[in-house]
C-alpha cells in the first residue's frame, strides 16, 4: 500500500504531501527532509527505486519536481512508477501544461485530483479519461 505521496521541488519545498498512515507532525517533517535528501542525490543512471526505512520510495523527476510515492517493500515498483506518470498526465491535462505554480495556487484542487486517483493508500482509478471527466464536472459546479 501507499504510505505517503510527496511532491517536492529541488530546493526541498513541498508542493503536496498526502499521508495514508498516521505520523506526528514532527515525524512528517522529518520524512519530508529525509526523502528529499535521498532522491535529489540520485541521477539518471540510478534506478527510480530506493529503499527507505522499512519501505521503499518510487520516484520520478519532472523538470524541477520530484514525485515520490512511498510503498511497502513487496509492492510492484513499475506499477507505482507508472501510477506516478499517469497522475502527472492527468495534472497536465487538468491544468493545461501543468507547472509548479499551478500546484501552488491550486493546492486545494490538487488534493481533489489525488483523491480521485488514489484512496486509502490504494490505486482507485486509472483511467485518465474518467478522472478528467469527473474533475471537469466538479470544476463546473459552484
Amino acid at each position: 500500500m501507499i504510505r505517503f505521496i510527496l511532491i517536492q521541488n529541488r530546493a526541498g519545498k513541498t508542493r503536496l504531501a498526502k499521508w495514508y498512515m498516521h505520523f506526528d507532525d514532527d515525524e512528517k517533517q522529518k520524512l519530508i527532509e529525509e526523502v528529499h535528501a535521498l532522491v535529489t542525490v540520485r541521477d539518471a543512471k540510478h534506478t527510480n527505486f530506493v529503499e527507505f526505512r522499512s519501505f521503499k520510495i518510487i520516484y520520478r523527476r519532472y523538470a524541477g519536481l520530484y514525485f515520490c510515492i512511498c510503498v511497502d517493500i513487496g509492492d510492484n515498483n513499475l506499477a507505482y512508477l507508472e501510477a506516478i506518470h499517469n497522475f502527472v498526465e492527468v495534472l497536465n491535462e487538468y491544468f493545461h501544461n501543468v507547472c509548479e505554480l499551478d500546484l501552488v495556487f491550486n493546492f486545494y484542487k490538487v488534493y481533489s485530483v489525488v483523491d480521485e486517483m488514489f484512496l486509502a493508500g490504494e490505486i482507485r482509478e486509472t483511467s485518465q479519461n474518467r478522472v478528467l471527466k469527473q474533475l471537469l464536472m466538479l470544476s463546473a459546479l459552484e
Binding site: K45, H46, T47, N76, L78, A79, A120, S127, E142
Partner: protein, 963 residues
C-alpha cells in the same frame, strides 16, 4: 499568474502571491500574522459571512497550515462548510478537516453528523466527498459510526460507479482502523462478485478491499480465485485497444492486472484443473508478450507491460509447480539482466533472487552467474550491486561456492562501506556452509579480516575459532596460516585475536619447524602486544599462559612479561588481575596441574551459527506501520529462511558471553565468566586452589551427595511474584561447599563456595543454568544484605542473557568484618518470554564459614570453658534428635561445620566437645562447643560458649535441630 480554472478565489491567489513575494522569513511571518488577524476578526465580528467568504478564509488558513504554521481557530467554520449545498464549499470544508483535524477533536461528533447527512444525500458527488473524507481520516470512531452503512453503497444496484469505488476503499481503510468489524456472511459473495463488475474502475478499487479481506480469511473468500483468473484471462486475451479507457500506452489494464495477480498470490495453486490451465494460459501469454516487438518506443509502454510481467513471474515463483513457466521466467529475467535500463536490471536481479530459491529453477539461475558477477563490477547504482550480492548469495551452492566467494572477496576490497559488514557476514556464511575443505574456509575468513578487518564482527572471528577447535583436521593448517598472516607488518587487530587464540591452542603443531619455533611464535605475538587494545592484550595474556604449558622452555620469558610493570601494575584492572593471577599460577602450580588447567579447549556444543543470527538481525527493520505489512517474498526472506545448520558442525552462537566456562579465554567482556581465577573482589588475592581453566568441564554439581530440589515451581504464571528459596534448603550448605540450591523447570542454581577463615574471606560461586527452551533475558542479580557492615559482599558482573542450555557463573566475594547472624540474599530477576520472574535466593554464607577448628587438650578446653562463664557468652539449645543418634555422623557433621572435635576430653564419652576460632577482619573469637545427646528421650543439649554474644547465639541457632 497561472491560469486558474473555474471559480478561482481571487483573495486566496493574492495572498499566495504576497507570500511568494516575501523576501525573508520575517516578512512572511509578518504577512501571515496580518492575514490571521484579518481572518480572525472576520470570523468573530461579521456574522454575515457568506459561504464563498468562509470557503476563502478556510482555504487561506489551510494554506498557512501547509506552510508549517499552527492554526488554532477556524475549525468550526470549516465544519460549517460541510453543510453547504455548494460542492466547492463542501470540498474545502472536507479538505480542511482531513488535513487539519485530529481524530480526537471534540468537533468529531459534529463532523460525523455532517458526513452521515452527506452519505444519505441523493447527490452522488456529496456521497463521494463524504466517503473520501472517511477514507482519509479513517479513525476507529468512524469505523464504528459507518461500517454498517457503507457496504450497502458498495453493492447496491443503484449506486453509481464513482460511489462504489470510494466505498470499497473507504471500507478498506475502516477495516485497517478496526479489524474486528469486518463484513461477513451475506456480504462475502457480493464482495467477491465485484470482480465481475462491468466497470473496471470499480474492480480496480474493490480488489484492494478484497485482497485485505482475503489476507484475513483466505478460506472464506476462496471463491474469488476462479473469478480473478477469468477476469485476468479476459484482460490478457483482449486486443490492446479493446479496453479503451483502461488501456495505458497499448497495455490493457496494467494496474488491474497487477492487482489480480497479487490477489492470486494469496492462494496456493488452484486444485481445479480448468482454473489452473486458464491461469497458466494467462501467464504464458504474458511471457509471450514480453517477446513481442514493442508497440511503442515510450518507456511508459514497456514499464506498464513489465509491471505485469514481473507480477506474473512473482506468481509463478509463488506457485512453484510449473517447471516450464519457471524456466521461461528465468530466461526472461536473464535477458533483463543485460537491459539498457537500470530499473530493469535491478528488478531482474531482485526477481531472480527468488527464483534461485526454487529447486526447479535454481540451476537455471546459475547459468547467469557470469552476468551477475559482472553487474557487481560495473553497476553504478549501489542498490543494484547490492541486489547482485543478494543474488550471488542465493544462487550459491557447493558447485560454485569457491568461485562466488572469491568474486565477493574481490569485490569486498572496493565495496561501498555501507554494505561491507553485510557482505562479510554473507561471505562467512557461504564459506562455512559450502566448505568441503576447511583449510579453504580458514583462508577465506583470514582474507576477510585482511581485506575488511573493521567490518568483521565478533561473531565471525568467534566462529572461525569454534570451527578450528571442533575440527582437528584443520588445526595444524590454521596455526600455520595465522602464523604467516601475523608476519605482515600491519595486522588488523582481529587478526591478532584470532592468531593469538589459535597459536595459544595449537601453536605446538607448528613448533617443530625452526622458523616457527615456540620462541618465534611468542615473539611474533608479543610484537603486536603493545599496539593492541586492552581486550586483545587480555586475550594475548591468556595465549601466553597457554604457551607456558605448550612450551615449558619459554616459561621464564613469559613470566618476565607477566611481571612487567605495564602488566602487573597495569591501570586496567582486568589486565592487572590476569597478569597477577597468571604469574602466581605459573609459579605455584606443578606441571601436572598446569597441564590440566591449561589444556586444550574442549569442542564447542553444536549450535546455529551466530553469524546467521547476526545477518537476520541486520535484516530486521523496524516497521512503524499501522497496518500489517504485506509480506511478499523478498531477497531478504531467503536470508531468513535458510540455515547453515549442518548437523556435524554448528558451533554456538554468541560464544564467549554466556556459556559459562566453556569460552573462558574469549570471555573478555565478562571477566568473571573467565575460568581462570579472577574477581577476588579486590580485597584479597588469596587463592587456595586454582580452578581448571575449562571449568565447565568439571561439573560442580557432580557431588556424591543427593541433589535436593528447590520448592515446586510456580513461576510461569507471569505474576512477577517472588519465589523464595527455603531456608532449610540453603542450610545444608552449613556442612558442605557445593550443590544445587534452587531448581525449577526454568532455572537451576548451583553453589560452589570456598572460604579461607584465617583471612576472613571467601567466595560463593553461583551457577545459573538455563533449563528452559528460551533465553533468560534481562538477567539481573542484586544483593540484599541486612548486615552489610559486618559482612562485605561484592557481586561480579554478568551479561544480561542466559542462553538456552547455557550456564553462567557469578561470583559473590565476601569478607567478614564482624560477627553477623543474617545471611545475604540475592534477588535474581529475569524475563522468560514475556514473563518476569523473581527469585529470592539466600546466599549460604553463615558465620561458621569463617570458623576454623582449633585443637587443644582437655585442660586448656576446660580452662577456657570456665573463663567464658558470663551469661552473655553462653548460648544453650535443647532439641529432639532429627536423626538416629550416631556418634560418627555427629562427629563428621561438627567437623564439616568447622569445629575441631576434641576426643577424650569430656568425662562422658557420649558427649562431644569441640573448639574453633571465628575469624573476622578485626578480631578472632574463640568458640567452644559441648553437645550432649540423651539417648533415653532422644534429645540433645547444645551449649556454645564464645567471647562474643552474637557468635554464641548464631552458632547455637545454626546447629540447633541439625543432629
Amino acid at each position: 499568474m497561472p491560469t486558474v480554472r473555474g471559480d478561482g478565489m481571487r483573495g486566496l491567489a493574492v495572498f499566495i502571491s504576497d507570500i511568494r513575494n516575501c523576501k525573508s522569513k520575517e516578512a512572511e511571518i509578518k504577512r501571515i500574522n496580518k492575514e490571521l488577524a484579518n481572518i480572525r476578526s472576520k470570523f468573530k465580528g461579521d456574522k454575515t459571512l457568506d459561504g464563498y467568504q468562509k470557503k476563502k478564509y478556510v482555504c487561506k488558513l489551510l494554506f498557512i497550515f501547509l506552510l508549517g504554521h499552527d492554526i488554532d481557530f477556524g475549525h468550526m467554520e470549516a465544519v460549517n462548510l460541510l453543510s453547504s449545498n455548494k460542492y466547492s464549499e463542501k470540498q474545502v470544508g472536507y479538505l480542511f478537516i482531513s488535513v487539519l483535524i485530529s481524530a480526537d477533536s471534540e468537533l468529531m461528533r459534529l463532523i460525523i453528523q455532517s458526513i452521515k447527512t452527506d452519505l444519505s444525500s441523493r447527490n452522488p458527488i456529496f456521497v463521494n466527498l463524504a466517503l473520501q473524507c472517511i477514507a482519509n481520516i479513517g479513525s476507529k470512531e468512524m469505523a464504528e459510526a459507518f461500517q454498517q452503512d457503507i457496504p450497502r453503497l458498495l453493492v447496491s444496484g443503484d449506486a453509481i460507479d464513482l460511489v462504489k469505488q470510494s466505498a470499497a476503499l473507504c471500507l478498506l481503510r475502516l477495516l485497517r482502523a478496526a479489524p474486528e468489524v469486518a463484513p461477513s456472511g451475506e456480504w462475502t459473495s457480493r464482495i467477491i462478485h465485484l470482480l465481475n463488475d462491468q466497470n473496471m474502475g470499480v474492480v480496480t478499487a474493490s480488489i484492494s478491499f478484497l485482497d485485505a479481506l482475503v489476507k484475513r480469511n483466505p478460506s472464506e473468500y476462496k471463491a474469488c480465485v476462479s473469478l480473478a483468473v477469468s477476469r485476468l484471462h479476459r484482460i490478457v486475451q483482449s486486443p490492446y485497444n479493446d479496453l479503451q479507457d483502461y488501456t495505458y500506452y497499448f497495455v490493457p489494464a496494467p494496474w488491474l492486472s497487477v492487482k489480480l495477480l497479487r490477489l492470486l498470490e494469496n492462494y496456493p495453486p488452484s486444485e481445479d484443473p480448468s482454473v489452473r490451465s486458464k491461469l497458466n494460459e494467462c501467464l504464458d501469454q504474458i511471457l509471450n508478450k514480453a517477446q513481442e516487438p514493442p508497440k511503442s518506443k515510450k518507456v511508459q509502454h514497456s514499464n506498464a507491460k513489465n509491471a505485469v510481467l514481473f507480477e506474473a513471474i512473482s506468481l509463478i515463483i509463488h506457485m512453484d509447480v510449473e517447471p516450464a513457466l519457471l524456466i521461461r521466467a528465468c530466461n526472461q529475467l536473464g535477458q533483463f539482466l543485460q537491459h539498457r535500463e537500470t530499473n530493469m536490471r535491478y528488478l531482474a536481479l531482485e526477481s531472480m533472487c527468488l527464483l534461485a530459491t526454487s529447486e526447479i529453477s535454481h540451476d537455471a539461475v546459475k547459468k547467469h552467474q557470469e552476468t551477475v558477477i559482472n553487474a557487481l563490477k560495473t553497476e553504478r547504482d549501489v542498490s543494484v550491486r547490492q541486489r547482485a550480492i543478494d543474488l550471488l548469495y542465493a544462487m550459491c551452492d557447493k558447485s560454485n561456492a569457491e568461485e562466488i566467494v572469491q568474486e565477493m572477496l574481490t569485490y569486498l576490497e572496493s565495496a561501498d562501506y555501507s554494505i561491507r559488514e553485510e557482505m562479510v557476514l554473507k561471505i562467512a556464511i557461504l564459506a562455512e556452509k559450502y566448505a568441503s575443505d576447511y583449510s579453504w574456509y580458514v583462508d577465506v575468513i583470514l582474507n576477510l579480516i585482511r581485506i575488511a578487518g573493521d567490518y568483521v564482527s565478533e561473531e565471525v572471528w568467534y566462529r572461525v575459532i569454534q570451527i578450528v577447535i571442533n575440527r582437528d583436521d584443520v588445526q595444524g593448517y590454521a596455526a600455520k596460516t595465522v602464523f604467516e598472516a601475523l608476519q605482515a607488518p600491519a595486522c588488523h587487530e582481529n587478526m591478532v585475536k584470532v592468531g593469538g587464540y589459535i597459536l595459544g591452542e595449537f601453536g605446538n603443531l607448528i613448533a617443530g619447524d625452526q622458523r616457527s619455533s615456540s620462541q618465534v611464535q611468542f615473539e611474533l605475538l608479543y610484537s603486536k602486544y603493545p599496539l593492541c587494545s586492552v581486550g586483545t592484550r587480555c586475550l594475548l595474556l591468556s595465549s601466553f599462559m597457554k604457551f607456558i604449558n605448550l612450551f615449558p622452555e619459554i616459561k621464564n620469558i613469559i613470566q618476565d612479561i607477566l611481571r612487567n610493570d605495564t602488566n602487573l601494575r597495569s591501570a586496567d584492572a582486568e589486565l592487572q588481575q590476569r597478569a597477577v593471577e597468571y604469574l602466581q599460577l605459573s609459579k605455584i602450580a606443578s606441571a601436572d596441574i598446569l597441564a590440566t588447567v591449561l589444556e586444550e579447549m574442549p569442542a564447542f556444543p553444536e549450535r546455529e551459527s551466530g553469524i546467521l543470527a547476526k545477518l537476520k538481525k541486520q535484516k530486521e527493520l523496524p516497521d512503524s506501520s499501522d497496518t500489517p505489512k504485506e509480506q511478499k517474498h523478498l531477497p531478504q526472506a531467503i536470508v531468513n529462511s535458510e540455515s547453515v545448520s549442518t548437523p556435524e558442525r554448528n558451533g554456538g552462537g554468541g560464544i564467549g558471553m554466556s556459556q559459562g566456562g566453556s569460552m573462558d579465554l574469549l570471555g573478555l567482556n565478562s571477566p568473571v565468566a573467565d575460568g581462570l581465577p579472577s574477581s577476588m573482589g579486590g580485597y584479597s588475592q588469596h587463592q587456595s586452589q586454582p580452578q581448571s581453566a575449562s571449568s565447565s568441564l568439571f561439573d560442580v554439581f557432580d557431588s556424591p551427595t543427593p541433589q535436593s530440589h528447590g520448592p515446586p515451581a510456580h513461576q510461569n504464571g507471569g505474576s512477577g511474584g517472588v519465589q523464595l528459596v527455603s531456608e532449610a534448603n540453603a542450610k545444608k550448605f552449613l556442612f558442605r561447599t557445593s550443590g544445587i540450591i534452587f531448581e525449577n523447570e526454568v532455572i537451576q542454581i548451583g553453589v560452589k563456595s570456598q572460604f579461607s577463615p584465617p583471612q576472613a574471606v571467601g567466595q560463593v560461586e553461583l551457577y545459573y543454568g538455563n533449563k528452559s527452551t528460551a533465553p533468560l533475558s534481562n538477567f539481573n542479580v542484586q544483593i540484599r544484605n541486612s548486615e552489610a557492615e559486618s559482612l562485605l559482599t561484592q557481586l561480579s558482573e554478568i551479561g544480561p542473557v542466559v542462553q538456552i542450555s547455557a550456564q553462567v557463573k557469578q561470583v559473590v566475594s565476601t569478607k567478614c568484618m564482624a560477627p553477623f547472624s543474617a545471611q545475604p540474599h540475592a534477588r535474581i530477576s529475569f524475563t522468560l518470554g514475556n514473563f518476569p520472574t523473581n527469585i529470592d535466593l539466600l546466599i549460604p554464607v553463615y558465620i561458621n564459614k569463617f570458623l576454623e577448628g582449633a585443637a587443644m587438650n582437655g585442660e586448656t578446653f576446660f580452662a577456657r570453658w570456665k573463663k567464658l562463664s558470663l551469661p552473655t557468652q553462653e548460648a544453650q539449645e535443647q532439641f529432639f534428635a532429627k536423626h538416629p543418634i550416631d556418634a560418627a555422623a555427629t562427629r563428621e557433621k561438627l567437623t564439616q561445620f568447622g569445629f575441631a572435635v576434641l576426643p577424650n576430653v569430656d568425662p562422658n564419652p557420649e558427649n562431644f566437645v569441640a573448639a574453633g576460632i571465628v575469624y573476622t577482619a578485626s578480631l578472632q573469637i574463640g568458640c567452644l562447643l559441648r553437645l550432649e545427646p540423651r539417648r533415653d528421650d532422644a534429645k540433645y543439649r547444645l551449649t556454645l560458649r564464645t567471647s562474643n554474644e552474637l557468635v554464641s547465639k548464631s552458632l547455637a541457632t545454626l546447629l540447633k535441630d541439625e543432629f
